[in-house]
């Protein structure tokens, strides 16, 4: 397989969702670019620029809504030299740094977030977020005596995975149905969830139900944290773009039999909802704990987007 084929192969795997998950997609794209550049043999910088542009476009187009993809490609393809060999070097270094940081992001988030957990805390979490779990387990491994309330997270019940993960660590865990969030909130010290994306105004896109949980936390003066790798911050939202809420299959909610019984029943199965920034106390990222209002700064300073070039 030649170098372009390999890149296309990665692109296909992202399209077909063989490669999935914000982190894995991002790292695969950076790696594919690195490998492609390494083997690229061109004479002029102009030709080189065109090749890189095309490769970047090819990758970005695989999943137009994946928030981590443009971030990975952007950071990887930022080179300044007009000498082809130096430019190659820059891209390879960029790709490797990106992968290294992505690999290290969860550990950093765990350490930073664990500082917000105190001994004796009751923590509530929703769905099954690696980043949120890193925060909880890091705090536990520091010897803090904590317990967790995990929501079931219908329709796919990721709360069971979360419960299993926490119980394997020995962390006392209680499962509740999603409707019981507010009922349990008065006794909770901190809510911590993951993030599918963070918009420019600090709004959090995450598993359906998150905004309800944040609202209940806000009502009870309970801290609400989200744990998000920097590559989850969405640069497109600076351009005013909405983050589209994916509607998922009815099958996740109803089994075949029930569907057959109720053929006229409409089912709405949104994958995510949007939590307004006013309900979020802090975003725990791999570059620090920042308030939601700082999302724009993260996008500008840590992801390298120049707002002036938009539109």
């Amino acid at each position: 397989m030649d170098h372009l084929s390999q890149l296309k192969d990665t692109a296909d795997k992202i399209t077909s969702m063989e490669i999935r998950g914000a982190g894995r997609i991002a790292k695969a794209a950076a790696l594919a670019l690195r490998d492609y550049v390494e083997s690229l043999e061109v004479g002029s910088i102009g030709e080189f620029n065109r090749h890189i542009e095309n490769a970047a476009k090819l990758l970005v187009d695989t999943r137009p809504t994946a928030v981590s993809l443009p971030n990975a490609i952007r950071l990887t393809t930022q080179y300044t030299s007009s000498d082809v060999y130096e430019a190659k070097e820059e891209i390879i270094n960029n790709a490797e740094r990106f992968i290294r940081q992505a690999n290290d992001a969860l550990r950093k988030i765990g350490e930073i977030g664990a500082r917000r957990i105190s001994d004796g805390d009751v923590i509530m979490t929703h769905c099954n977020s690696n980043a949120a779990l890193f925060v909880i387990t890091t705090a536990f491994e520091q010897g803090k005596d904590i317990s967790v309330i995990a929501t079931e997270t219908r329709p796919r019940r990721q709360g069971l995975l979360t419960s299993k993960h926490l119980l394997d660590y020995g962390i006392p865990t209680t499962l509740i149905v999603d409707s019981a969030m507010r009922y349990c909130m008065k006794k909770v010290d901190t809510v911590i969830v993951g993030a599918d994306a963070i918009a420019v105004n600090g709004a959090l896109v995450n598993k359906i139900g998150t905004s309800q949980l944040a609202l209940a936390a806000h009502e009870a003066r309970t801290n609400f944290l989200t744990a998000a790798e920097t590559y989850k911050f969405s640069p497109n939202t600076i351009h005013g773009e909405f983050i589209e809420i994916e509607q998922r299959s009815i099958d996740e909610v109803l089994d075949r039999e029930t569907l057959a019984d109720l053929p006229e029943l409409n089912v709405l199965n949104p994958a995510f909802d949007i939590t307004p920034p006013k309900y979020i106390d802090l975003i725990i990222t791999d570059v620090g704990a920042v308030p939601p209002g700082m999302a724009y700064t993260i996008i500008k300073d840590h992801l390298g987007w120049e707002v002036s070039e938009i539109v």
Copy 2:
């Protein structure tokens, strides 16, 4: 079977939950008292009083937390005469009036509540409340073009029953998971739910998740109604009593296999939660549409409780 045996038989059926549901329990108790009184043959009013008191106590003790039971017995046993035959007559009339009104309550609630539904409204409901459904179907039968969003209502998924009931009427219905309440709220005109009990301060005891729904409605300036027969108003709360939140079996939440896999998992499965009165716009009862602050007046005027006799 003699007359006391019959009353005891009803009591047993309430205890064993062969007779269940707030309305059915209340009517069975009133009927049992009527039958008992009818066949009761005593000489003095003193003896009569004692018999009635014992019968009432026997019935109340079957389900100490059933809110409709003391209301039915109270209303039935309010007699003023000191002549045994007249007193009997009073009790029989009371019982029959109570049963008649209870039978008619849903129709009245339907008519009163339907006035709060406008043509074109999108209505959200939770769980499977007869009273709330009467309001919706009455409005639909009046020719109003409405549609309904029904929540799934984990763990027992009563939202499927609700959906089936509404679709049978031809009302367009959309099912959502409980976590999607807030996501859908901005487009909802009115939320209407049932009631397990109404406390003296107008707080609503209802299926777990109701308070979360009310909070989301409040946040979006959406009307929130509850439909409650008068016998759902809880007189004991005047005495300061909490309404205890029943914790139900883990089996409702997890199947056996999952439980076996996660033996250390704690599951909290509250049947109800409490919605504070500030999130409730109106309570639709069979004697009118009243604000939550009027609960005390309903208890006093329509259920006949004298607060001065408490403690």
Copy 3:
């Protein structure tokens, strides 16, 4: 003109809006009933009852949405005797008492409301309410050093009438456009407005803009009072009825020339809006200062409606 003709004459004048205004309509109806009864010569109580019922219906039907009309008729036609002459007497007394109380209502409201105004207060008012003005002028006549901010109240600019009325009393008055309510609110001590109707849950139906003013007062922790004669409380709302918001003519908003220039322009000109009870501190009535949650009690105790007879 015979006695029935006279009653019909009054009915016609109410229909044609020759008689208008909540107070005037109510008193005219009570008077018409009194006169009609006085001249009525019938033998049996059954016949008498039928006549009264018909007369009442005839009057109520003239303006189905006028809130004071059913109150006046209800209070006037409450008789208990089954002796025709005594029943006549009762109705005549009822009518006269109603008229006397209605005539005295503004004075009482003025005295009760003035107690809520302190020396040095800045008061804001909206539209041109007699009851609200009575409160303000009574306080001023008690020697309190007050000033008033009057909103213009588009489209009919009743704020000019209000300003003139207050300046005639010598009360310093400032006019603002309706958009400046929030701008001025921080320096206001008390907002006081009138009422077109009070619903069973204490919601206030009043001139468009009132709910916005109440919202701004609530945001700034400023007291918000409404002054309402008891006959403004709407008994139909107990039955769940909405108070319909009248849409008024476009001509009030745009002159002919502008309309001709913009033929496709849609204009929405609602006469009233609804202020939720949570934004109202007290309702100043002629029987006392009551919180909005007491509306049901006023309707029951002071207007004589039995909720049990509804539907």
Copy 4:
């Protein structure tokens, strides 16, 4: 001392504050009236009426702002007979019933309020209220494992009395300065305070700082209860009257030396503040636990005030 002298003697003691405290004042007035009536020897009912009226006025005028005084006198002097001997009998019975109920009020409040306290609760209280303390100690004596946070309550530091009282019962007690209310609130389950007066709209007049505490409880979704004997409900507020906030001596805040050092320093020392009803969950009275919106009903039904006679 003749009978009128005795009544005047009581009046003087109330004026001079030899008799002080809402409960003691009320009972003294009822007793004085009873004794006066007992010894009163008059012929005609007209003369009797005049004597009673004068006696009532004499007592009411002693402390125009004492909320319990008019309640005690009102309830005592409600007689219906036009026979002097029967009227005397009524008054004597009224007085004795009032005193009996007043004596029993704290015990009833304790029992009713204790039902709102759960095992394991952390309770916060402000100042030194007998009624609030009865609730706490009753719950403790029922075996509930509770602890209390008591605020210091500057300037007179009644929190020390409260702490001593609770520690004598063996209840774990923590003292904080008034500024630390919000800091501690997240861990509090229920706040309970006393009442100097309850206004018709359910607003609570109580020790300065109470409204701040209620605001902090509201922010954190913590229950806020006030314990108030029914004679604390203020009938005058129906007439629109403000409850005046007494300004107390500077000496309570600053010692002589400091005052001498800072002669230009102004000191504002309000005795009370007003907590709006929206921050109050329940009022624990001797006739039941009622929401603040029910204050009007308590004044009407339990204190016997007819609003129609006002102004």
Copy 5:
């Protein structure tokens, strides 16, 4: 006319308001500086610096409260070279870039903002803002099926201009009086208004009534956007300066006749009000959609102000 005269001529036209409007003022100032510099013939850089400083001061002083003026001059006069010819070149380039960007700002705002408008949306707007209208018409031209509610905007009724503009595009438009904002809000999807200035904390200075509209949107969970060119961000507010609210002529509110009738009437006619940042979801600028909390960053990064040099 020599080069300085031309600059003074522009200055005079700004002072006399012959040149008015934030954008036009800013561009005129940049142009005047460019022309002035072009023709400036000086030897030393020191002399050059002094001339530029004087020219800048002369222009800034024309309208001390115009927020766009100091921004235009600042951006134009930022040169780094100490060679006169290079410095000239820099200033000319700066001026031309500023003018180019200002000319393009509305188009960019339109494109960015239109992404926040969805098919089927009902939009509310206030006054007559070019930037807000660009957002709406851009969305419409993208084929989105939208409709607009325009407020009248007393006293100058700019809502009529807005309505005409939108109807000319074929966009369905409804006019309402300013008092009807809250009445209509429940059905609105997005509110979008313009900006006179944005303060450092993201507070919005805009036409009187804007803050009321934002409050009503916030109450109903409706998105609230403001469209603002970057030169509307006010650097002086970093120094703590208030943005003064201009009071405009009484004549705008009342005609001569009414004024003559009511000579003692005070009229308050504020041109603007201030909307706190917590009620603003996003600011649509020509460099992206940013949350209000980012105002400081815009001022620093896009307008070139160094906070360290202040005071």
Copy 6:
């Protein structure tokens, strides 16, 4: 004493609290570093780096929770040259600039903050903050007619110091107990307090009671400002660190005698509380007036912390 001894001497004085107060500590550390560097005679840059690192560590370790200490040391030790003499020069310049700016910070804060004070304002302040007092006295010296309400600030009653300071300037001052904050709030135009630290999300750490005051200001739509030197912004909070709330001695709250009387009494005496950013309108710093959401930018741009190096 050699140069290292001098540095250790300063360190000891900070540890022993001979040098105390955020500003004094920071300046002492900068000065100690300057003196140390000045006298340092080393050959290689490597050796120099090690010495500086050790000196910095020695100073930081003296008071791990002092927020100004790491800021002073960070700003002082930022040198870029790898030439020892140049690096020395840089450090000396850094130290002197830091000290100059710290000395000038209060004056700048006074000037910036005074712009937020208008003629006629009533200002409330808590505790005894130099920065807040500078704002007030600067406004007064500008001729603004202002008055101040100072809270007592138990337990140490710093409100008396504040009152004395203000009265010495001739500013009318009223003292209140801490519980009266909300009672007085409706008449207050602006609240201004100092800061012990500002966290990365703009949360304010300040004297116990501050968050209560902010809550009451927020409830009444009153502006709430905090005055904070830039060196009060806490860089560690970017790493997720909590700012620990110091618990101070019981003796501050109770005298010995009372303690002896109540040996089982627990006393909680937190020195600070945390005010959430949503209750803060502006932070007045020496580099401008910024919204709380900008704290991260201040830490990054003005204190020189690189978030990427953390963990």
